[in-house]
Symmetry: C2
Subunit: 498 residues, 2 copies
Amino acid sequence: MCKSNIDVFFNPRSIAVIGASQDSSKIGHIIARHLLDAESRVYMVNPRAEEILGRPCYPDLASIPDSIDLAVVALPATGTVRAVEECVRKGVRGIIAVGSGFGETGEEGERLERQIREILRGVREGERPRLLGPNTVGVYVPRNRLDTLFIPRERVPRMESGWWALASQSGAVGVRLMVAGREMGLGLSAFIGLGNKLDVGENEIMDYLAEDVHTRVIAFYLESFADGRGFLERCRQITLKKPVVVLKSGRSQAGLRAAALHTGSLAGSDRVADGALRQGGVCRAYDEEELLDLVLALGSLAPLSGPRVGIITAAGGHGVILSDLIESRSRGVGLRLAEVSEEAKKKLRSSLLPYASVENPIDVTGNATNEHYEAALNVLLDEEGVDAVICILVYDTPALNERLNDFIIERFRRTGKAIVVATIGDEATRRSLRPLAEAGIPVYPSLWRAARAVAALYERGRYLRLRGVLHIAEETLADKWGRGVNIGLEGMPGSRGA
Amino acid sequence: MCKSNIDVFFNPRSIAVIGASQDSSKIGHIIARHLLDAESRVYMVNPRAEEILGRPCYPDLASIPDSIDLAVVALPATGTVRAVEECVRKGVRGIIAVGSGFGETGEEGERLERQIREILRGVREGERPRLLGPNTVGVYVPRNRLDTLFIPRERVPRMESGWWALASQSGAVGVRLMVAGREMGLGLSAFIGLGNKLDVGENEIMDYLAEDVHTRVIAFYLESFADGRGFLERCRQITLKKPVVVLKSGRSQAGLRAAALHTGSLAGSDRVADGALRQGGVCRAYDEEELLDLVLALGSLAPLSGPRVGIITAAGGHGVILSDLIESRSRGVGLRLAEVSEEAKKKLRSSLLPYASVENPIDVTGNATNEHYEAALNVLLDEEGVDAVICILVYDTPALNERLNDFIIERFRRTGKAIVVATIGDEATRRSLRPLAEAGIPVYPSLWRAARAVAALYERGRYLRLRGVLHIAEETLADKWGRGVNIGLEGMPGSRGA
């Protein structure tokens, strides 16, 4: 009962919109409109309407001739309290309380939260509805077309279905992560706005997502921990199965104060949090872009078995800059450039152009053809001493073109090694690489972001080895996975299991 | 004579393309085609053609019935050596040697470079032509439509005219910086591919750009210094007038080795370089994105007079994340969040919504109208204790919309304080803010990049104060500029002088 009663927020069979509205500017209208598409039976509730969006409207929950799994309450704070009572009477299993004006605004709001808590406490445990929020933007589960976000789709385009789960203590931060992630090609298994966390908090959400087969990477935006110890205990277990990425703000004094004003939450010392998150195997992000970059890498690729990075470029200068970013500890990620074996160099010398560099970074030169680039990729992927390859790709030289994408995708599917693509340019540059992204290869529009992504894959591999999950001494990673060690990568392109 | 003889690479009255070609796949064709648009008299040279691109073709330089300022030599290495001799005989003042196969490829190439050096040394100093390259991608000066880049415009769109000058030791790095910078709205005063720096190096280019009225910010991509001491002496003088941004690669052992293989250059110890660049007032960038971000900020805005940053947001969570990035020293820029005075808070309380936060970061809330946001901006810009304002802007809430851009632009024009905009989202998000960028306000698509830009403005202000350039104790920055202190910001939106 402890886990499954959260499932109602992800897979409700029936939904009531309390406060559904005919007025298209109202939150209750937007939510109702989006829910018309849901894979659930949807009922409108509003005492002052007969019909909303072509659906019959009920004056109250009790009048609905159906059991209700999930109630979305789109009412102001005081109305929300009454609606919760109604939900209890109806036997609703989950409540999403969208309204604001609760604990985040001061004493009066706190009093209303206490009232809700008491109402819930008064219900027998097996029958007690679970509550998400209040002050939550709601949930979004693309595969079920379950969308309770009260921001119109015209204003905020929604993500496609995918493998990334996001739970956010801030609705706006969550929504913007989804918009930016969508542009990067990420798809979503579920989004959960945590809001004021009166009942359901990040820990239960994490438990649920840990078991969710649709979710490959779990990401959190948090301003506070409802139960920090519980969060970290979970992380230590769950990160052995799936990557967990956390953007925890309120790190600085100013951030702490701002967080307290924003969600009314009291965050603890960040130094403690940082060490604990690291011990828990969490990948910590420090801004929204980093969170997305890490999610993309960790969900697309296997953790690295070592720190040795190979680089292929058609522009020597980019190879030099990236080499610095890979190796430097002060302004870089502190990994290592792979040494190329003598045998590999011989192969490269015979297949590349005369002035190409056969040392890593492999510079195929601006005159290289697709075949030259392909030869370099083959050699690096075959090298034992290479743990990951970063392909710097720009199709602006005379003899490289988008047909190279097909080759890289094909090699990506057959290798156990990480391939990450870095590019520099504009929308047209990025568009030319979209097939790679669609095939599951992480593509980053900057050298630094590619380097940071590879470092995250290395750190995750190191953590798993420390925890004894991967014993990859002689065996290849791919073999290991082939035998089904579940590290959350099933069915992923790039793993032998696919 | 020492400075002006470089001017021929920027403002030639006549140009000869040696190795002009009818074959559209040849470099000699691409260069010839682009130069047809130039504001110069252009002559084609090729002994095997009568006519190229509708222009008469001359068998050699000597046959051209005009004096030639600039010769673009689009020939292989050995042909280049002969062409240099021809240029000397003709009295050409500048040579751009595009061909590769010189010092960067080994001994034979070094021998050819020595030959060129000897030819040039044999000419009397006043008559000696200057040589850019070899192995250079050429120059691009948009305002003169002088474009010798041998990459077709169809493949690499060119930047508009503007105030940013870039000199790059790597052609590909330079070209990609231009493509990415163009998307950010940057315009170019001049691009110079330094190539192998046989004759003209970064120091002379810096001297020239320091005096160039079209150039507001000078940026370099370098893998080595031809004369490090000379470079730093220049920086110490020139950074008092204009910002200089340097991306110097070859920082790590791997990068050093890669740089040696790439341009054949031997870079020195990076720790020495780093300290020296800092003392020279140089803003150092560590990747291509950072270089562009710093150029945009330093060329658009005045240096800060202090580290106190104000933040306005309609989404509390974004304010919390940015506060951390501003204040944190470990994963942030180590500036300070401005304290808002009691009087300002009173004003904010009376003009903002009840649940808005009147502490910095100012959270106008998701229900804010344009007028609420405007009131917050007015208050922060009027606060003495605020040195810069970061506006987090996303037009996805019900009552904020693009008309707010006009107000921000208007305030930007009337303030001496820095305004930087940060946004999070997708192409549509960024498009809605384009008017701000066009008005000269730096817009960054991530919170971190905005924070880093503000930090660069603060560092530059601090450096200038240390060097005694700005005494801004009581006077406002704008007053100071009104009196014409030249810090390279004349005619810039955002400065009172504009």
